[in-house]
């Protein structure tokens, strides 16, 4: 393999044009991901997590103001590719996605079987019969009974629909799957089930995952690495084993302190104030206004500091 890393994102920028000016939804994000690893992207709503996923897959709306940076997949930069080439060789072939509220992302008038065949027919050039066999195999992987293949989405429960959506992402055997809030609308036991499925897929098929969520507690079920996003920027990245007990960035610390624990007597904290507007973000550190450890330097743009294999974008560690 040309590159040890499966995915290397460098300075990815995606700005949208609006009436009030450009929205800096993703503003200089860098992220690395190894083969057979799962990275969790955590952040509040509106911090640009979903936009990051769409920027990686180049699923862009019409009002794009600026789209730049580097997305290297297995050592090859896919950003200069033409749209058609990208569609054929990257989207769903190498990276697929399980969209947010996947329960409602299925087409209600098509049988679930027909829906999950589609990527196999288009991307792998399969005949329908072979694709059907493959679909059945995928159903087995995600734990959906084989006879569900002829059913319509409304005949399935929320958890089953979510599994079908995962099967659809799996069918082309991509090396990377982006999961956008895969379990936020599901019950506790269904969530645990889905995470069991994802763990098994990771173990058996060696797939990598980018898991986008705001649910910190359940995200730890899959996380090898953690990336914290705030106001369109990555403020901390690092491996989960060291992140969860000891987050570095003040925002990450505050976020972890706000997670209720089952048997915790710990006093919960919350973050005062609101995230800044992305139309006109503050100069310097974007978290400074809400940060309890703010000091003089914080009105200048903080550098990304590397510390034992973790990165943190904060002046405190300079």
């Amino acid at each position: 393999m040309a590159d040890k890393k499966l995915l290397r994102i460098k300075d990815l920028v995606l700005h949208f044009r609006t009436q009030h000016g450009p929205v800096q939804a993703v503003d200089g994000v860098s992220l690395d991901l190894d083969y057979n690893r799962a990275v969790v992207v955590l952040g509040e709503s509106g911090c640009g997590k979903t936009t990051l996923a769409k920027a990686i897959l180049r699923l862009l709306p019409r009002n794009v103001e600026k789209y730049s940076g580097e997305v290297c997949l297995g050592g090859k930069d896919v950003m200069p590719m033409a749209d058609e080439e990208f569609r054929l060789s990257v989207r769903w072939a190498a990276i697929s996605m399980v969209p947010q509220a996947a329960m409602n992302a299925l087409n209600p008038v098509l049988r679930v079987g027909d829906q999950i065949l589609e990527p196999a027919i288009i991307h792998l050039g399969m005949k329908k019969g072979d694709a059907l066999q493959l679909a059945l195999k995928m159903f087995q992987h995600v734990g959906v009974p084989a006879d569900f293949i002829g059913r319509y989405p409304f005949e399935l429960s929320g958890g089953m629909r979510q599994r079908v959506a995962i099967a659809m992402a799996l069918i082309t055997s991509p090396s990377l799957i982006i999961l956008d809030e895969p379990t936020s609308a599901l019950d506790v036991l269904t969530q645990a089930n889905i995470f069991n499925v994802l763990k098994r897929i990771k173990k058996e098929l060696g797939t990598s995952f980018i898991l986008i969520t705001h649910d910190i507690a359940t995200s730890s079920e899959l996380a090898d690495d953690v990336a914290i996003m705030y106001a369109g920027q990555m403020v901390e990245t690092g491996d989960a084993m060291r992140f969860f007990p000891n987050p570095l960035h003040p925002y990450a610390q505050k976020l972890m302190a706000s997670v209720p624990r089952l048997r915790g007597e710990k006093n919960l904290e919350f973050i005062v104030g609101q995230p800044p507007s992305l139309v006109n973000p503050p100069k310097g550190c974007r978290f400074a206004e809400r940060c309890p450890q703010r000091f003089g330097k914080c009105d200048q743009e903080p550098p990304v500091i590397e510390k034992d294999g973790r990165t943190v974008k904060c002046w405190l560690y300079n």
Partner: protein
Amino acid sequence: MSAEEKTKEAERVGQGWDKTGPLLSIQDLRVWFELRRFGFGRAGYVRAVDGVSFDLGRGEAIAIVGESGCGKSSLMKTILGLYKPTKGKVIFDNEDLTEKGTKGMRWYRSHVGYVQQDPYGALAPFMTLQRILEEPMIIAGIKSKEERQQRIRKVLEEVKMFPIEDFLGKYPHMLSGGQQQRTVIARAMIMGPNFVVADEPVSMLDASVRVEILKLLRGLQETHNLSVIYITHDLSTVSYFSERIFVMYAGQLVEKAKVTRLLNNPCHPYTLALLNGTSDPDAKNALTFKEVPPGEPPSLVKPPEGCRFHPRCSKMIKGTCDVKEPPEFLPEADHQVSCWLWQ
């Protein structure tokens, strides 16, 4: 009675809470919805709530935990008087609500607040905060404009929306999710209720705001000596909010206990499964698989014979669990569980 207790008692009398006994008492409540009929025959019923009984003390906070479709919302809506119970009684402050007419329900509604799950959906998009908060008072017949204004100010102060003037003229879409939920809470509090039902008040909010709203609700509960029913599917927030937990499964309460007791010594296999399914943020979680009972909750049209959890239960006793419905057993004091294992 110590002097301190006496003054407390006097305060309660002064506030009109001199009555004793539980504030709310639910007795063998059943809410069945009829399925569409075919011809003259009956297709059957969806037994959304099937034999639920509990008492809610004055100033007590309880949590009802269960998966979606277990009937917790139907239970809540029946308590609020939005559904008519098929059988059983809802007794509020020694008055039976099932016998009340329109006028009686109006009296009841000014004593109970409701905090909805989705704050944006719960607020009328074409009304300003001023109107949203004024409406319940107009319906309840508070004629004086000044008094209404005064109450709005007081309640907005209590939910910490400052500066008040800035918010009064705003529409719901101009507020953040946390502020919207505060408005919903303010509306629930505006009639000065002594009982509040909160239906997953924080499930739509971000992690950092969630705690803020939970703390706000807890604060209001303590200062106003409110009785609260907190409905949720998230066990991890329960211990921060309530004294007792009821676990609901397929229309029935399967376990009732104090929060610490239930978390440390879950007696029903379903409770245990729920606790195992809930994660704490810990990187070690990624290394192990979770134990999850197989299958899905049963249909409420034809629930399984005997214990409703038995088809999914790993500790099922053949000949008992699948035949007879378990009564409530007491494995320890103040801890009721409907499971044959504790016979």
